[in-house]
């Protein structure tokens, strides 16, 4: 947010805020720990608004569910802002003191074409309901917007996020206790990966690769020269593989052969590499394609170190058991690779590495392991040993005059999903997760549960009836990229024209054979949330052949 790559609020604030907007997030299933904090808030009177095309288990907890059409988030956010301005509920003092670009933004969203009434057909959200929610958000003492992949897995992901930022700036709902903007992280340490610089355009502590002064500090410590240009993100790497520019790949605890959109094509590219090395706990679908598989260790119990959670809290993890015979500590593998390629990485014990990070990343400087332990984790930024970290970010925007850079409004425009539904592919396919499975199910498949129901394509009952399909019947689902066959499940929580799949159950059907690999050039994230498909009844003979 505004240069710092993390959510602006803490879990405690979710429990104490007045209104939470979960936008494109099925946190009840996909972020159950975070949702636990939401429930605590709800029990003490927090109101919940859920924006989602599906009536998800999360939406069922909401006071208001805005049933947005897939890919209409920008139109909805702009109509939301339209209401705030139309009804004079914006925070003028905040806008004037702490932001830039308001005039242009206001001119755009105030146009009649952006009103909730004019955009109802695009967004699917009744205008009266949107007005009510926008009013509640703008007039709440404290309100926060949280989002996940429903916002980011679109070809216009960055514009989606910017649209939400516009709302917080318009209403002054950021930079205060209980008011802010929070992307929820899908794993215990996604935030930590970003913190440590595992991003193609950032060094540790979210410092720009393009900044020569920053690079100079890292160069001096690492005794090397960091290239000044951004690296490739995952999507760009696959494009580079297509161009045969990228010929070798070290995959570190990822399973792109299954998790990437248009998976058939992904697997072809991976198979075509000169060398593919996979370091993982499991022989995943990706590892099966590898030339070399290096058995790594489970970071939550077999190694020492830290993780950073969604509220930017750096926490210690401690080694409880040794990896099984043959598996190695991940960092040992990495440093050994370095050594054999002629780079001595020096003392690579976890605490020594952490202390090196503290000299390079200002936001981590005050976090010694001893202090992290003593304070029960510390939320960055923590610039020195007096600081106890920050529960919320951007309090600076409320200083008069504002400290640092003003927060920018951005004009965003609705485009909708790249792939249109058509006569040939009449259904909108969106993908997501279920509570009882985790991502590509590599780990969750190892325990049995009656709730592992296997993969299905979920359809609105009336749609299924129109095709003569009954609950549980096997069907063929075809997108412009491929086909899968699997059972249909009737789900009244969908809506006409919308079908849903997860990608947990590879052995049943691989949803990412269908998904669209069109991606946002700014974020590199593919449009998992919007493909178009057709659904066909299997003929008697086809069914018999199975």
């Amino acid at each position: 947010m505004f240069g710092a790559g993390g959510g602006t609020n803490s879990y405690r604030e979710v429990e104490e805020t007045d209104l939470v907007v979960l936008w494109g997030s099925n946190a009840r299933e996909a972020h159950p720990i975070f949702f636990h904090h939401v429930i605590k808030g709800l029990r003490r009177g927090t109101r919940l608004v859920v924006v989602d095309p599906r009536r998800t288990p999360t939406a069922e907890w909401a006071d208001e569910w805005l049933p947005v059409h897939v890919g209409a988030d920008i139109a909805l956010a702009n109509a939301f802002a339209h209401v705030i301005l139309d009804e004079h509920l914006e925070n003028r003092a905040f806008i004037e003191r702490a932001t830039v670009g308001f005039a242009e933004f206001a001119a755009h969203v105030s146009s009649p074409a952006c009103s909730p009434e004019a955009t109802e057909a695009i967004t699917g959200v009744p205008a009266a309901q949107l007005r009510k929610v926008a009013r509640a958000y703008a007039t709440a003492d404290r309100a926060m917007i949280c989002w996940t992949l429903g916002i980011t897995e679109h070809h216009d992901a960055v514009d989606n996020v910017l649209s939400l930022i516009n709302l917080a700036l318009t209403a002054g709902q950021v930079g205060r206790w209980g008011a802010g903007l929070n992307p929820l992280r899908g794993q215990n340490n996604v935030q930590g990966g970003g913190d440590m610089g595992a991003l193609p355009h950032k060094l540790a502590g979210f410092q720009d690769v393009g900044d020569a002064a920053v690079r100079a500090r890292f160069d001096a410590t690492w005794k090397t020269t960091i290239p000044p240009q951004n690296g490739w993100n995952l999507t760009e790497m696959f494009l580079a593989m297509e161009r045969k520019e990228l010929r070798g790949l070290l995959v570190f605890g990822e399973n792109p052969a299954q998790s990437e959109a248009n998976a058939g094509h992904t697997r072809e590219l991976l198979s075509d590499l000169d060398i593919l090395v996979v370091q993982d706990l499991f022989l995943t679908r990706t590892a099966e394609l590898a030339d070399v598989v290096l058995p790594g260790s489970a970071s939550w119990c077999e190694t020492d170190g830290t993780v950073t959670n969604s509220e930017r809290r750096v926490q210690r993890v401690r080694k409880a058991v040794s990896p099984p015979a043959g598996a190695r500590d991940d960092f040992w593998i990495l440093s050994e690779l370095g050594r054999r390629m002629g780079h001595d990485l020096g003392d690579t014990s976890p605490e020594a590495l952490w202390n090196e990070l503290r000299t390079l990343s200002p936001m981590h400087r005050g976090m010694s392991w001893a202090r992290i332990e003593q304070l029960g984790g510390i939320q960055w930024p923590c610039p020195d040993e007096q600081s106890e970290g920050a529960p919320f970010l951007h309090g600076r925007l409320w200083k008069d005059p504002v400290e640092g850079r003003r927060a920018p409004f951005t004009v965003t425009r609705h485009e909708g999903p790249l792939e249109h539904v058509s006569a040939e592919f009449p259904f909108r396919l969106t993908t997501g997760r279920r509570l009882y499975a985790y991502n590509t199910h590599v780990q969750t498949q190892h325990f049995t549960s009656p709730l592992h129901r296997g993969e299905t394509v979920d359809m609105f009952p009336a749609d299924a009836a129109a095709l003569g399909l009954v609950d549980g019947e096997r069907v063929r689902v075809t997108s412009p990229r491929g086909s899968v066959e699997l059972p249909v499940q009737l789900d009244p929580n969908l809506r006409p024209g919308l079908v849903f799949m997860t990608f947990h159950f590879l052995q049943d059907a691989d949803a990412n054979t269908l998904t669209n690999d069109a991606f946002d050039p700014k974020s590199g994230t593919a449009e998992f949330k919007a493909a178009s498909v057709r659904i066909e009844k299997l003929t008697e003979t086809a069914a018999a052949e199975e």
Binding site: L42, R43, L48, E60, W61, D63, E64
Partner: protein
């Protein structure tokens, strides 16, 4: 809320009875029930359980699940409520049932003899013959008319009424008359008021007026207790041979150690909650 209910469905009768009590379901595929809306529905839990039982004589798993789903009350919580009150049955039982109070007030006025006689005529408590049965019940909240029996006939319409100064004859007769609403007990004003202590004000005091209550000597004992102080009151409780609900709160102590001051001690408690039904509230204590 996203309750996941797997299991039996209600019968058509149960569904109709519950819908009549709490309104038919609205499913426009767009509605959601958040925590605030669920809280607004929560007070309908007792009426809904009541309606199901009044129709078929018990709260079946299917009815319980349907009530949970309609009201967004987690099934464990709905089960907790249904199993807390003695008047709800969670197993099938006779459609006509007499709940015969054998709690302290009724015991003092012949409930044991009444139960013995019913046992001899109808079989032991809990048994049933030809769709009728009887069972012992905690206080029904009509203590001044002791002994008391509550008669319920399940069906459509369900019939229910309490018999005051009940006799075995009247109970057996009421159980047989499934098409008649048992006569609700008239407010009894005891003639031998001089012998009554706890119930002496019944029929005289307007139960909605504290002033009326005080004017007839209400809270006199409380005032005396406050004057004497906590230690003295706890001593009294220790040496008194308490019975009934009070004894459950202050069981006699074999050790002879006195009861200690506890912030949770409540001073008025004469009845175990038994009846979620709008039983006439005429208890005087």
């Amino acid at each position: 809320m996203d309750l996941e209910l797997h299991g039996p469905e209600p019968t058509e009768d149960e569904r109709a009875a519950i819908d009549a009590a709490i309104g038919p379901p609205v499913d426009d595929a767009r509605s959601v029930v958040g925590v605030a809306e669920a809280a607004r529905r929560r007070p309908l839990l007792l009426p809904a359980l009541h309606a199901a039982q009044a129709r078929v004589g018990w709260v079946s798993p299917g009815a319980l699940a349907y009530v949970s789903r309609r009201l967004h009350v987690p099934p464990a919580e709905a089960y907790g409520v249904a199993s807390f009150y003695a008047l709800y049955a969670l197993h099938p039982r006779a459609r006509s049932i007499a709940h015969v109070c054998d709690d302290i007030g009724c015991k003092a006025r012949g409930a044991d003899a009444l139960c013995d006689e019913l046992g001899a005529r109808l079989g032991p408590a809990g048994s049933q013959h030809g769709g009728a049965g009887w069972m012992r019940s905690p206080c029904l909240g009509l203590c001044e008319q002791a002994p008391v029996a509550l008669i319920q006939h399940a069906g459509a319409p369900a019939r229910e009424g309490a018999l005051g100064e009940a006799t075995a004859d009247r109970i057996v007769q009421a159980l047989g008359e499934t098409e008649r609403t048992p006569e609700a007990a008239p407010a009894v004003v005891h003639q031998d008021r001089a012998n009554l202590t706890l119930l002496a004000r019944v029929g005289l005091v307007d139960p909605t007026s504290l002033d009326d209550y005080r004017a007839r000597g209400g809270y006199r004992v409380l005032r005396r207790a406050l004057d004497r102080g906590g230690a003295s009151v706890l001593h009294e409780l220790t040496v008194a041979k308490l019975a009934g609900a009070a004894a459950r709160r202050f069981p006699p102590r074999a050790s002879g150690r006195p009861w200690r001051r506890s912030p949770r001690v409540r001073t008025t408690s004469c009845a175990t909650p038994t009846s979620p039904s709008p039983a006439p509230s005429k208890t005087a204590c």
